[in-house]
Structure formats: structure tokens, C-alpha cells
């Protein structure tokens, strides 16, 4: 038993990979293609990333490009910013998004604002990778999603893959983007051998180079009765629930946002325009976050699209409890999602 992984085997033209391995493959391709891409963070070298985000990169690219840092997030994220300003394309890992509190200034006041403050004259082509999410009893300081917080603060794109294909395509897009991009991977979608897995955390991935556009949601399941707008691990749960409800004749459309910034409002409106019913499933905190924004998107445009009150399945503004029954009560577990859909469709 080990929390580290062995490097992925050489790649055929398409392979079944875990999300983690797909992410690493995207990084590997970009690092091979572009010498200015480097990866910095805690335990990203010989350990290969606590959540296997860098397995094998040190061996392939060496310690000048895959760099273990001290536990000094402000310094090394800031270093990434300065390096990006001077033309490198650093990927910098914040081990858990929960740790943003020790370094948010570099992220939101510098990485995200320099381009604007310089009137467009300075570019910051940096990627900030970070692990999010709970469900394995890691407590209030190691289980948060916080994409609402990142999304609220302007100047950075925020992408959130839920599966291997998107993980690879989005990391490649993120590295190539001339803007700062925050890349939030849920530990529960990575397909780690030491964590509960949904079959959806393993999937077919093209071996070569491809991108997933940042800012386009994906309709991962079509349906006519109700729209579920969600992202990250909750996509897995929503699809499981949708399959189950289909047996009862409820056809659920599931939208995987894939990025929080930009938010694909058109996709939300199109789907709710069709189904007339909306459930937002968000593992982040309820208030002042993603779920409210998605709902408001409809009311901004036309509240008449809605044939019923919406339901928001989110963390009810509670620090994430350690004990399993409590944690499961605040997370958007399948049972809560199912209950919410049933209520909204009146089934």
C-alpha cells in the first residue's frame, strides 16, 4: 500500500487512464513541447505530488524543471508570477486549495490583477494547480472546494475537470493560455488507488496533443425533465443518480460546467430553457457561491423559464466536519441529489 504511483507506461494512440495520469500526460506533452514550462510546488519532485499530479515528471525533466519548494506558498507562488512575467510558463501547485489563506494575496492581488493594472502590457501565463474536495474525513482545513472564492475574484480563469479526457485537455489549454488559470482537481476524481473511486475517474484518453476549450460547459447527459448543473466530483454522483432516476422515467440533463471562469451561461440557459427545472449541485459552500450564481443566471435573463422553484444541493455553510456521518450530511452525496431532483420534478 502506498500513496504514490508509478509512472504511466508509454502511450499508444488512445489509452484508458485515470484522471491523475491524464493530467500528468498533458503536462508531459507540454513540457516536452515547450522548454519554458516548469512545475513548482511541495512534494512535486520525487514524491510525484501528494495527489499524483506530477508522477514521473522529475525523472523525465529533471530537478531544474520539476522543483520541490519549501513550505512558503507566498514566496513560491509569487516566484511563479515573476517568472511568468519574464516569459516562462510556470505551473505552480498549491497542495490543497484550503491553504489559499497563506498566499491569497499573491494569487488574487498579483497573479490575477497585474495584466489589468498594466493596461494589458504585462502577461502572466501561469497555471496554479490545486487539489480540492472532501468525502474522506480530512476535516475542515483539508476538504474544501472554494471555487466560489476563486471565481468571485476577477482576473483568473478557473477550470475544474471531472474526468480524464477533460483533465488532459484542460491542463494543455491552461498551460497555453496567456492568462493565469487556476486548475482545481478534486481528489475524488483523480482515480487514486488509495481513495474511493467512481468508475468515471478512469476513461479513454487520446494519446496525443489536444485541448479542451476553457469556458465551454459540456452536456454529459441529455434529458428533458430537469437540468442538473454541476462540476467536478458531483458530476459523477449526478450521472449515477440520473441513471437511477431514468428507471423511474425521469430524464435528467446533466451539465458539467468544466470551468467556473468563464461561466458558460449560454449552456445553462439553453438547458433550463428546455427542461424548465433546475437543480444545482455544488460541493462548495451554499451562500455567496457558485450555486447562487447559476440560479441568478436564469433570473437575470427570464425567471419565467423556471416551472418550479430551483434546488441547490450544496454545503449548507458548515465547516466540513471530520466524522463521516456528519461529513456525508453536508456534502452533496447521491442521496441528497436524488431527493432534490425528485422534489423539483415532483416525482
Amino acid at each position: 500500500m502506498t500513496l504514490t504511483e508509478s509512472p504511466a507506461a508509454p502511450a499508444p494512440s488512445s489509452q484508458r487512464l485515470t484522471t491523475a495520469k491524464a493530467m500528468v500526460q498533458g503536462l508531459e506533452l507540454e513540457m516536452a513541447r515547450d522548454d519554458s514550462v516548469i512545475y513548482l510546488g511541495e512534494d512535486v519532485g520525487s514524491y510525484g505530488g501528494i495527489f499524483s499530479s506530477t508522477t514521473g515528471l522529475l525523472d523525465r525533466f529533471g530537478p531544474e524543471r520539476v522543483i520541490d519548494t519549501p513550505i512558503s506558498e507566498t514566496a513560491f507562488i509569487g516566484l511563479g508570477i515573476g517568472a511568468a512575467v519574464e516569459g516562462l510558463r510556470p505551473v505552480v501547485e498549491l497542495m490543497f486549495a484550503d491553504f489559499m489563506g497563506v498566499c491569497l494575496d499573491q494569487i488574487y492581488n498579483h497573479m490575477a490583477k497585474i495584466h489589468y493594472e498594466s493596461g494589458g502590457n504585462v502577461k502572466v501565463p501561469m497555471v496554479l494547480t490545486t487539489a480540492v474536495g472532501g468525502g474522506y474525513s480530512d476535516g475542515a482545513q483539508h476538504s474544501q472546494c472554494l471555487w466560489g472564492t476563486f471565481g468571485h475574484l476577477p482576473g483568473m480563469k478557473v477550470v475544474v475537470p471531472s474526468n480524464p479526457y477533460d483533465a488532459k485537455g484542460l491542463i494543455i489549454s491552461a498551460v497555453r493560455d496567456d492568462n493565469p488559470v487556476v486548475y482545481m482537481f478534486h481528489k475524488g476524481v483523480m482515480g487514486l488507488p488509495w481513495m474511493a473511486k467512481n468508475p468515471r475517474s478512469m476513461g479513454e484518453v487520446p494519446a496525443g496533443d489536444y485541448t479542451v476549450p476553457i469556458g465551454e460547459a459540456s452536456v454529459v447527459r441529455e434529458g428533458t425533465d430537469v437540468t442538473v448543473v454541476t462540476l467536478s466530483l458531483s458530476v459523477h454522483h449526478a450521472l449515477d443518480v440520473a441513471d437511477k432516476l431514468a428507471e423511474d422515467g425521469v430524464e435528467t440533463e446533466v451539465i458539467d460546467l468544466r470551468s467556473v471562469v468563464p461561466l458558460d451561461r449560454r449552456a445553462i440557459l439553453a438547458s433550463v430553457g428546455k427542461t424548465g427545472r433546475l437543480v444545482v449541485v455544488d460541493e462548495d459552500y451554499l451562500s455567496y457561491g457558485l450555486s447562487g450564481e447559476v440560479v441568478a443566471t436564469i433570473a437575470d435573463e427570464d425567471p419565467g423559464l423556471l416551472r418550479a422553484p430551483v434546488a441547490r444541493v450544496a454545503n449548507p455553510d458548515v465547516p466540513i466536519p471530520y466524522s463521516r456521518p456528519l461529513e456525508y450530511a453536508v456534502l452533496p452525496r447521491p442521496e441528497r441529489i436524488e431527493a432534490a431532483i425528485r422534489k423539483v420534478v415532483g416525482a
Binding site: M1, T2, L3, T4, E42, D43, G45, S46, Y47, I50, D68, T69, P70, I71, S72, E73, T74, D98, F99, G101, V102, G135, Y136, S137, D138, G139, A140, Q141, H142, P193, W194, M195, A196, P316, D317, V318, P319, P321, Y322, S323, R324, P325, L326, E327, Y328, A329, V330
Partner: protein, 349 residues
């Protein structure tokens, strides 16, 4: 007790005279006490290790079992906890890190409720809300945080409050050597010296911050050198030597109690196991040396040589510890899990 205004350093002439602390040599009873504490901690960590792996399979799923989540155990670091906390009363504060069990036990945190917390039970210190990185026992002013170095600043506040209330209670703030490179470390040392706060800073140098060796994280050989640059007395203690720790901590604690301000101790200790359970430690070049550096048999030999221990005493002490620990584990297992309907309780007072 000085009553100087915070925000203004006490002018040197108003400070109690700086006297090099007298050595704190443990007497026989204290030496046995140090040993007993170390054994109790190790026994505890072995029990948690055992329980942690129950029902994690097939394979290993971190979220499963009686004790889910990350688990950072302190085997090998017992001398720090025993040596430092021997000087404290339950009125003093200790703030620990993600790796807190040894300090909690040495400082007298209620072991039943601590164990119940680790098992996520309603009888736990935090009614199951906190978990093993978030043990709060206000009865003995114990707390911890899972965020690197961020336990230092609240300890300053405890020290501040203790002084403001006119007591001679002190705060002990502990972090690892990796943590000493976090900004909070610097800010805390400056503020503690500036306001002459009754704090003892402890850096547990176990050579590793997860997989990153000290040489890759820290630009200087000793954080004691750094502390001196804040005008603070500081020592580095080598070899995980519990009596040397006891001595240095005694002087630092006395200094803080007498209103003479903060000190820092960097203690070279040993992480015997993985960073957390499940860590395969492939990165770890020093692994074969580890068993030989175990501080408990070492100290056992010392005390035996001094005629304070024999095999029978050792096995009595170990049996006593086992009884105590198994009682706590049983208490935890016999306790109820929290009611999911109460998940939203205690967000606000």
C-alpha cells in the same frame, strides 16, 4: 510579571535582569516520569496505527474504517513532548500541528475524549467535528491546526491574555522544521519579542517535511540562529535527547514565566514512520537508520544503567500504558457517532 504596554518593547532597564537560567537537571522521579510519558505516547500511537488500518481494505481506502482521513503519527518524537511539557501545568497553553498526539498526551489532554475525537464520536473533544488535526481541550488550553505554522499566532494571543490577566501562565507553540519557512513563523517571532510575550517556541526538526529534506527547504543549518536574529535566546538540541530537551525547556519556560520574554528551542528529533499513514517513504534515504535511532530503547538503557529501571519496571510501565490506552480506545469505540441531523450545530455559538 511586567506590566509593560504591548506595542512598546519594555525598555531594557525595566525588564527583570537577564540571568542565564540555571540548568534543569531532572531528578530520579522526573527521569522516570519522562520515560513513562514517552512509553505512554508510543503505546498510544501504536494503538492508533493498529486501529487506523482496520477496515481500510480491500486495498487501502483512506476514507474507510473506524478512523478515516489523514493520520500523522508522532512515533520517535516523544522526547520533545515529554521534555517540554514536563514543565507545564494545565493552566499553560500548548498549540500543536497536524502531528499533535504526543504533545496532547504529554500536556494532559483527556485521553478518552481525544481518542473518541479521533474515532469521530460525539463524546470526542470536538464532538467528532474536528478530527485528529483539530484537537481542542480548553481544560488544559490545548489546541492544534492543520495549517503549517499557523498555530504560532494564536499562541501569542494566549500568552498575551495570560499576562493581561496577571498570571504567570505561558504558551508553548510547536511547529516542524518545514513550517519554519512559512511567513507566520517570522511574524510571530518578531511580535513575541517586541511585546515580550511569555511564549516558548518549539521547532521539531525531524529532517523531513513530507518528502522534502531539510536541506531543500531551509537555507540555514539551525533555526536557533534565526531566532537569535530576533534578539531571542535560542538553542538547538541534538540527538533527540530527552534530558537535554528537559533542561533547555526548563530554562525557556522559567524565562517566560518570569516575564523575561520568549525563547526558541529547535529540537533534532526523529520521524520514525511515514509522514502520514500510507506514505511508502520511497524518497527516504535514511530509513535503514531509523530503528537504531528510536529514542525509547535509548533512554531505557540510560535509566537502566543509572539503576532506575529494570526489566520488570519496564514491563510494568508498558503494561500500565497499554491499560490506559486500551481504556481510551474502548471508550471511543463504545461511544456513539454524531447524529447527521446535527451537522449544522456549533457553527455559531
Amino acid at each position: 510579571m511586567t506590566t509593560q504596554a504591548p506595542g512598546r518593547p519594555t525598555p531594557p532597564e525595566q525588564r527583570p535582569p537577564e540571568q542565564p537560567g540555571l540548568p534543569h537537571t531532572p531528578d530520579d522521579e522526573t527521569r522516570l516520569g519522562l520515560y513513562r510519558t514517552m512509553v505512554l505516547i508510543r503505546t498510544y500511537e501504536e494503538a492508533i496505527l493498529r486501529e487506523y488500518h482496520v477496515d481500510k481494505g480491500p486495498g487501502f481506502d483512506i476514507g474507510k474504517g473506524l478512523i478515516p482521513g489523514e493520520m500523522h503519527l508522532s512515533a520517535g518524537q516523544e522526547p520533545v513532548a515529554a521534555g517540554v511539557c514536563a514543565h507545564l501545568s494545565t493552566g499553560d497553553a500548548v498549540t500543536a500541528t497536524h502531528r499533535p498526539h504526543h504533545l496532547a498526551i504529554a500536556h494532559g489532554v483527556d485521553m478518552n475524549r481525544m481518542t473518541a475525537e479521533i474515532f469521530g464520536r460525539e463524546t470526542g473533544l470536538g464532538r467528532g467535528r474536528g478530527g485528529h488535526m483539530h484537537l481542542f481541550d480548553p481544560d488544559v488550553h490545548f489546541s492544534c491546526s492543520g495549517i503549517i505554522a499557523e498555530g504560532y499566532p494564536p499562541a501569542l494571543g494566549q500568552a498575551f491574555a495570560f499576562r493581561r490577566k496577571g498570571t504567570d501562565r505561558i504558551a508553548v507553540a510547536v511547529t516542524g522544521e518545514g513550517a519554519a519557512n512559512q511567513g507566520a513563523f517570522h511574524e510571530s517571532l518578531n511580535l513575541a519579542v517586541l511585546w515580550n510575550l511569555p511564549v516558548v517556541f518549539v521547532v521539531e526538526d525531524n529532517d523531513w517535511g513530507i518528502s522534502v529534506p531539510r536541506s531543500v527547504s531551509t537555507c540555514v543549518p539551525s533555526n536557533a540562529t534565526r531566532a537569535e536574529a530576533y534578539g531571542m535566546p535560542a538553542e538547538r538540541i541534538e540527538d533527540n535527547a530527552v534530558e537535554a530537551i528537559y533542561d533547555a525547556a526548563g530554562r525557556a519556560v522559567e524565562r517566560a514565566r518570569q516575564g523575561r520574554g520568549p525563547s526558541l528551542l529547535e529540537i533534532h528529533t526523529l520521524r520514525m514512520w511515514g509522514h502520514f499513514e500510507g506514505d511508502a517513504q520511497a524518497y527516504r534515504v535514511d530509513l535503514t537508520d531509523v530503528p537504531g535511532r528510536d529514542p525509547i530503547p535509548t533512554y531505557e538503557r540510560t535509566l537502566k544503567a543509572a539503576g532506575l529501571l529494570d526489566d520488570e519496571a519496564v514491563s510494568n510501565i508498558k503494561a500500565e500504558a497499554a491499560t490506559r490506552v486500551e481504556e481510551a480506545v474502548t471508550f471511543a469505540k463504545d461511544s456513539l457517532l454524531p447524529d447527521p441531523a446535527d451537522a449544522g450545530k456549533y457553527v455559531f455559538a
